[in-house]
């Protein structure tokens, strides 16, 4: 008679044991979480481990940094004259990131789109602005003209309007993250409405797992990014939008025509600087297609996940292909 083979159950038990032990590795690490409404966004911060202050004080410090940027910039729409009058190094840093993204996306992220942005409102019963007013406002869009000698307008009541809300939100996360590091906390995750900043190694080991929502199925995930410390920003056509006469209008505007861009469904950018990632996600979204993919491949330290078309075609840059797991 053949004897029972113990090898099979033994292998299974060992594997399950290893999984159980590794899953519990991070459980003893103190975790501190809070959420607050700031910069017109739901901001969540989680700290892990011990710092030089209590977890509560660490959270307060990080939120205070974000609140400070919010107080400086208001809703993120600001005339160039008011912007020029700001005497704050943070303003220079935000403009530096905006300029970098503008150059890298060949002007498709343009912080001077504010004159058009302020015509649009995105809520359930909103309607698109009058095309003539969009056309008029477009005359004030174009960072190249702002940068040209004598290009800063004024005196006649007209002015460029900067829309730096997105970059400022990411930049605020960068600053808050730096404050958390200074306070000695070994790991943190900051999430401001989809702009994410990750510090340190995940308690318990392994990569940080960031789920990306399915752009057309609210209760489903598109996929999961497995990351080391990084910044992540997403521009999606589903975030802030309204439907008017059967057509959906969303908040990512093309600086060439002042209308919602139809070039992409969503773009998730991974890098190290949350402010820059936010701006690049917008520019790459407007660029769309193979051109955007090629650009993202060429940008040093930048990876991206693109979703194109109603068929939800998902394409990633080569550097992140192995870290993105498609879930649907």
């Amino acid at each position: 008679m053949r004897r029972y083979n113990y090898a099979i159950p033994l292998v299974i038990v060992v594997i399950l044991l290893v999984f159980t032990l590794t899953r519990d590795r991070g459980k003893g690490v103190p975790e501190h979480y809070d959420s607050r409404l700031m910069m017109d966004t739901f901001v969540e911060i989680t700290l892990w481990g011990e710092g030089s202050v209590s977890g509560e004080a660490g959270l307060d410090s990080a939120f205070a940094v974000i609140a400070g940027i919010g107080a400086l910039l208001g809703d993120g729409l600001m005339t160039a004259s008011d912007w020029g009058a700001l005497q704050a190094p943070e303003a220079d840093s935000i403009m530096a990131r905006s300029l970098a993204a503008w150059r890298r996306t060949e002007g498709l992220f343009d912080p001077t789109i504010g004159s058009v942005s302020r015509l649009w409102e995105f809520y359930p019963d909103a309607t698109p602005p009058d095309p003539d007013s969009v056309e008029t406002a477009l005359a004030w869009v174009g960072l190249d003209r702002y940068l040209a000698p004598g290009g800063v307008p004024g005196g006649d009541g007209s002015d460029f309007v900067l829309d730096i809300g997105g970059v400022a939100k990411g930049y605020a996360l960068d600053l808050a993250a730096a404050a958390i590091v200074r306070l000695g906390f070994p790991a943190a995750l900051l999430n401001a409405g989809g702009d994410i900043k990750i510090i340190g190694e995940k308690p318990g080991g392994g990569p940080w797992r960031i789920a990306v929502r399915h752009p057309r199925k609210r209760d489903a995930f598109l996929g999961c990014l497995e990351l080391r410390p990084a910044a992540v920003a997403t521009s999606g056509d589903y975030e802030r939008s309204f439907t008017y006469r059967g057509e959906r209008y969303h908040h990512i505007l093309d600086p060439r025509d002042g209308m919602p861009s139809r070039a992409s469904v969503s773009v998730t950018v991974v890098g190290s600087d949350a402010g820059l990632c936010d701006a690049l996600a917008t520019g790459l979204f407007v660029m769309g297609g193979g051109e955007a993919l090629a650009l993202a491949e060429a940008l040093p330290g930048i990876e991206a996940v693109f979703v194109f078309g109603e068929g939800i075609d998902v394409v990633t840059t080569s550097g992140i292909a192995g870290s993105f797991e498609r879930m649907e």
Partner: protein, 121 residues
């Protein structure tokens, strides 16, 4: 002990692979939460169970936001805010999902730890 047969090895591999997949990969469907954290600018924070249907009134910066919990889902029923963006968010039930009313300073987040550290909304 006899040497494992080809069938033994095949069965083992299938079971191990299935186990690894089940443990390592969460389902595409977002897991439903059991509780929600309601916060408002008036500094009140409430944790409520989603298993009990109820109507909740939360005082915000502009007035009262009415929140409905039914069938494990949460939605904002009424709000004094001008554009009703929060009402347009519909019903939420998945862990980590949230509805925010910026003008009235009220937020509701489905609590719970999913298999993810964060969700890009």
């Amino acid at each position: 002990m006899t040497r494992p047969t080809v069938a033994d090895v095949a069965v083992t591999l299938v079971i191990v692979a299935a186990g690894v997949l089940l443990l390592a990969y969460p389902a595409a469907e977002r897991p439903r939460g059991e509780a929600a954290i309601i916060k408002s600018v008036s500094d009140t924070t409430r944790v409520i169970s989603l298993s009990e249907d109820r109507i909740l009134v939360v005082e915000g910066a502009l007035g009262e936001t009415t929140i409905k919990v039914a069938g494990g889902q949460l939605e904002f029923l009424s709000s004094p805010c001008p554009h009703k963006v929060c009402l347009g968010r519909g019903k939420i039930a998945a862990e980590g999902d949230y509805i925010v009313c910026v003008p009235n300073g009220v937020s509701a987040r489905i609590s719970g730890k999913s298999a993810f550290d964060a969700v890009v909304p």
